[in-house]
C-alpha cells in the first residue's frame, strides 16, 4: 500500500515539476532527485504521460523518447544507434531501426524544445550535485568497479594515463583495420566510444561531467594528456580556487622544465617514484637530505603538507615583498617557488617543518635553482643612511653602500659595505648593532608607505559617514 501511495505522490510531484515549476523532467533527474531506481523513474514518467494523454484535451506537455536499436549506417553496416527524439519523430526513428532494443521516455516538459541543450543542462546540474554517486540508481552495474580512495587514485593515476593512451592507440588501430575503406570520422569515434562503453554510457557521461567540473574523483579518463604531476594535483585537491592556482602554476612549471631539462626530469622521476611506492623515500638529492637530518627532531609526517606549503609560499613571498627595494621580478619568484613545490613533492609525506624552516628552504631551493639555471642572482646596490653610536656615545650618521640580495642569509654573508665616511674603530658591539640595523634597513623600503602613515603625528582613525547620518 505504501508503495501505491508513494507512486501517487511521485505522480503528483511530477505534475508539479512540469506544470507548476515549468521544469524539464528527465528520467535521470527524477531518479536522482527522488533517490529512486532509474527504471522506476522511467515507469513513473510513462504513467504520467499516459494519464495526461488519457485526460483528453490539450495536455500541453512535450515528451522526448530515448530510442536505441540496431540500425544501418550510411554505408549499410549494422550498428547500434541511440537517439533522443521528440514524440513526433518517434515512429520515424523506430522504423529506421532494424531492431529496437530500448525505447523509453527520456524527458517530459511543458515547453517545446528548440534544441536538446535544456535536457543536457538538467542532467548536468543534477549529476554535478551528485557527482560521486550519480549512477547509484542505475540499473547497469559493474560489480568490479569500486570507488577509489584519493590515495589509491593518485597511485594508479599514472598507470591509468598510460593505459588509456595505449587503449586509444589500439582503438585507432582496431578501427582502421576493421573499417578500412569506409571509415568516416564518425565511425571512428563510435568505435572508440564502444571501446570505452563496457563501463556503461552513464559512466562516460559522468566522466565528461566531472571533467567539466574540474574536481571529480574519477577523472582518470578525461585527463589523458596532462602530465602525471598535474594529474595528481587535480585528484588531491577539490577546492575550485586551489585548483585554479595550481593550474596557473602549471604552465611556468613546464617552462622551467624545459629550461632545467635534466634536473626537472630528475625531480619528476622522484615524484613518480613516490607515487608508485610511498615507502621508497630515500632517494632524494643529498642536499635536502642533509637539511632534513638537521631538522629531524622537529619533523613529523604530514600528509597534507602540500597545502601547508602553499600558504607558506604566500607568506614567504610576502616576506620577500617587504624587501621591495630589490629589482627581483615577482613572477620569477613564483616560478622558483613552484619549482620548489615539485622538488618538495618527492619527500611529501616525510617531513613537517616549522614555517621559518620552510622559508629557509624556499630561499635555499631558489638559490640552488638559480645556480642550476645559471642565472645571475639579482642584487642591488643601495645607499643607505645609518645611525651608529660611537665609543663616546655620540650618534653618527653615515651613508653606506649596501649590496642587497634576495635572501636573508645570503644578505648577511654578502652585504658589501663600502663606507663613505671614515669611522672610528668599531667595537664588536657596534658590529652587532650594525647587523641588526642592516636587517631593519632591508625591511624598510616596502614598509615605507605604512611607515609614512604610522609616522604621522596625528594618530587618527578614519570614521565612516554612516556613524553620523542615519538611513532614511
Amino acid at each position: 500500500m505504501a508503495c501505491e501511495t508513494d507512486k501517487a505522490l511521485l505522480q503528483e510531484n511530477i505534475e508539479e515539476y512540469i506544470k507548476d515549476d515549468n521544469k524539464v523532467v528527465t528520467c535521470k533527474w527524477l531518479s536522482l532527485m527522488h533517490s529512486i531506481d532509474i527504471n522506476v523513474a522511467k515507469r513513473a514518467l510513462h504513467i504520467f504521460v499516459h494519464h495526461q494523454r488519457n485526460k483528453g484535451g490539450n495536455d500541453d506537455i512535450n515528451v522526448t523518447f530515448f530510442v536505441a536499436g540496431l540500425g544501418k549506417s550510411k554505408d549499410g553496416d549494422l550498428m547500434h544507434k541511440c537517439a533522443v527524439v521528440p514524440e513526433t519523430e518517434l515512429e520515424v526513428v523506430k522504423r529506421s531501426l532494424a531492431t529496437v532494443t530500448s525505447c523509453h521516455i527520456f524527458s517530459v516538459q511543458k515547453a517545446k524544445l528548440k534544441d536538446y541543450t535544456p535536457l543536457y543542462m538538467t542532467d548536468y546540474e543534477v549529476i554535478k550535485d551528485n557527482i560521486d554517486k550519480c549512477n547509484r540508481f542505475s540499473s547497469i552495474k559493474c560489480p568490479w568497479v569500486s570507488l577509489k580512495s584519493g590515495l589509491s587514485a593518485s597511485k594508479s593515476a599514472q598507470q591509468d594515463v598510460v593505459k588509456v593512451v595505449l587503449s586509444e592507440n589500439k582503438g585507432h588501430a582496431f578501427s582502421n583495420k576493421t573499417e578500412t575503406g569506409n571509415d568516416s570520422p564518425g565511425s571512428k569515434t563510435r568505435a572508440l566510444a564502444k571501446k570505452v562503453e563496457p563501463k556503461g554510457s552513464i559512466t562516460s557521461m559522468f566522466a565528461s561531467a566531472s571533467k567539466k567540473d574540474g574536481g571529480g574523483n574519477e577523472s582518470s579518463k578525461p585527463v589523458q594528456k596532462t602530465d602525471a604531476a598535474s594529474k595528481i594535483k587535480a585528484t588531491k585537491k577539490k577546492g575550485g580556487v586551489t585548483a585554479f592556482f595550481e593550474k596557473k602554476g602549471d604552465s611556468p612549471l613546464k617552462q622551467k622544465d624545459v629550461l632545467l631539462g635534466k634536473d626537472s626530469k630528475k625531480m619528476d622521476a622522484s615524484s613518480e617514484r613516490f607515487e608508485s611506492n610511498v615507502t621508497n623515500e630515500k632517494k632524494q638529492d643529498p642536499k635536502r637530505k642533509k637539511k632534513q637530518a638537521a631538522d629531524a627532531d622537529e619533523e613529523a609526517p604530514d600528509k597534507k603538507r602540500r597545502r601547508r606549503i602553499k600558504t607558506d609560499l604566500f607568506d614567504s613571498s610576502d616576506d620577500e615583498d617587504v624587501e621591495a627595494g630589490e629589482p627581483e621580478e615577482p613572477e620569477e619568484e613564483i616560478e622558483e617557488m613552484e619549482q620548489f613545490e615539485v622538488l618538495d613533492k618527492g619527500i611529501e609525506e616525510e617531513h613537517k617543518m616549522t614555517e621559518e624552516e620552510q622559508k629557509e628552504e624556499v630561499d635555499d631551493s631558489s638559490l640552488t635553482k638559480s645556480a642550476v639555471v645559471g642565472k645571475k642572482r639579482k642584487r642591488t646596490k643601495k645607499v643607505v643612511s645609518k645611525h651608529y653610536e660611537d665609543e663616546e656615545g655620540f650618534m653618527v650618521t653615515k651613508k653606506e653602500t649596501v649590496w642587497e640580495s634576495e635572501t636573508d642569509e645570503e644578505d648577511e654573508a654578502s652585504v658589501n659595505k663600502q663606507e663613505k665616511k671614515s669611522h672610528q674603530s668599531n667595537t664588536s658591539e657596534d658590529m652587532g648593532k650594525l647587523a641588526t640595523k642592516n636587517t631593519k634597513a632591508k625591511a624598510d623600503p616596502k614598509g615605507k608607505a605604512a611607515a609614512k602613515k604610522n609616522s604621522s603625528p596625528q594618530k587618527s582613525k578614519q570614521t565612516s559617514l554612516m556613524s553620523f547620518f542615519k538611513k532614511k
Binding site: K452, S455, S467, F468, K472
Partner: protein, 262 residues
C-alpha cells in the same frame, strides 16, 4: 516624460568630472522641482549631494518623479563628446531604461544625440540633519585645491584649525610638517578672492587629504568654496553651481585613536 535643457552645458561636464572619481554609479532623482543626487563613495567615508533647481534650467519638464541609475564614468565619457559651449538637453521617458543626451552647438549647426543605458541601482538615501556649524569658511576654491594638493605631499591627513584670525591647514609626515594659514581678507575688492570665516566656536578637525583632493576636482564649478565644520561632525565642502544649485561633499572626520600617543 523628463526633459532638462541647460544652455551652459559645460556645467554638466564640470559636474561629472568632479564626481566621477569619487563615485562609480549614482541615482539622479528627477522631480518637478529639479534634479538631486545623493551617493556615498564605496568606502562610506564621503558623501556627494547635488541639487539642481528646475529654475536654473532653460526648460525643465518632469511629469513624474524619475530615478535614473547612471554609471558615471559612462556618462562622463558621453559628456566629453559635448563641446564647452554646447547646449545640453537630457531626456528620458517615464519608464525608460535609457536616457538620451542631445548636444547642440551654439549656432545650431551641429546636433549630436547620444543614448545611454540606465542601470538598476538600489541605494538608500541618508538623512542629513540640518546642522548649525561652528565654523563656516568661505575661500577661493582654487586656493583650497592648491592647499590640499600641497599638503598631500607631506602627509595623508590635514588638520584644519579654525580661529577668529583665520583658518590653518596643517599636515605632517615623514618629510616634516607644513602649515598654511589663511587670514580673513574681507577687505579684498573681489568677493571671490576673499577669505571669510564665520565662527561661533573654534574647531580643530582632522580629515583625509585623499578625499579633499577628490572634492577639489569640483573647483572649475565655482570660484568660491565653503567649508562648514563642527566638532565631531562631517565636514561639508560646498561648491555653488551658478544659479542652478549646489554640489556638496560630506567627509567624515578622522577621530583620534584612543591608543594613540597624542
Amino acid at each position: 516624460m523628463f526633459e532638462a535643457r541647460l544652455v551652459q552645458g559645460s556645467l554638466w561636464k564640470k559636474l561629472l568630472d568632479s564626481i566621477k572619481d569619487l563615485l562609480n554609479e549614482a541615482i539622479f532623482d528627477c522631480s518637478s522641482t529639479g534634479i538631486t543626487l545623493q551617493a556615498m563613495d564605496s568606502s562610506h567615508v564621503s558623501l556627494v549631494s547635488i541639487s539642481m533647481n528646475s529654475d536654473g534650467f532653460d526648460t525643465y519638464r518632469c511629469d513624474r518623479n524619475l530615478s535614473m541609475g547612471i554609471h558615471l564614468p559612462s556618462l562622463s565619457k558621453i559628456m566629453k563628446c559635448a563641446g564647452n559651449d554646447d547646449i545640453i538637453t537630457m531626456k528620458a521617458t517615464d519608464d525608460a531604461d535609457t536616457v538620451s543626451l542631445v548636444f547642440e552647438s551654439p549656432n545650431n549647426e551641429k546636433v549630436s544625440d547620444y543614448e545611454m543605458k540606465l542601470i538598476d541601482l538600489d541605494t538608500e538615501h541618508l538623512g542629513i540633519p540640518e546642522t548649525e556649524y561652528s565654523c563656516v569658511v568661505k575661500m577661493p576654491s582654487a586656493e583650497f585645491q592648491r592647499i590640499c594638493r600641497d599638503l598631500s605631499q607631506l602627509g595623508d591627513s590635514v588638520v584644519i584649525a579654525c580661529t577668529k584670525e583665520g583658518v590653518k591647514f596643517s599636515a605632517s609626515g615623514e618629510l616634516g610638517t607644513g602649515n598654511i594659514k589663511l587670514c580673513q581678507s574681507a577687505s579684498t575688492d573681489k568677493e571671490e578672492e576673499s577669505v571669510v570665516v564665520d565662527m561661533n566656536e573654534a574647531v580643530c578637525l582632522t580629515f583625509a587629504l585623499r578625499y579633499l583632493n577628490f572634492f577639489a576636482k569640483a573647483t572649475p564649478l565655482s570660484t568660491q568654496v565653503q567649508l562648514s565644520m563642527s566638532k565631531d561632525v562631517p565636514l561639508v565642502v560646498e561648491y555653488k553651481i551658478s544659479e542652478l544649485g549646489f554640489l556638496r561633499f560630506y567627509l567624515a572626520p578622522k577621530i583620534e585613536d584612543n591608543d594613540g600617543d597624542n
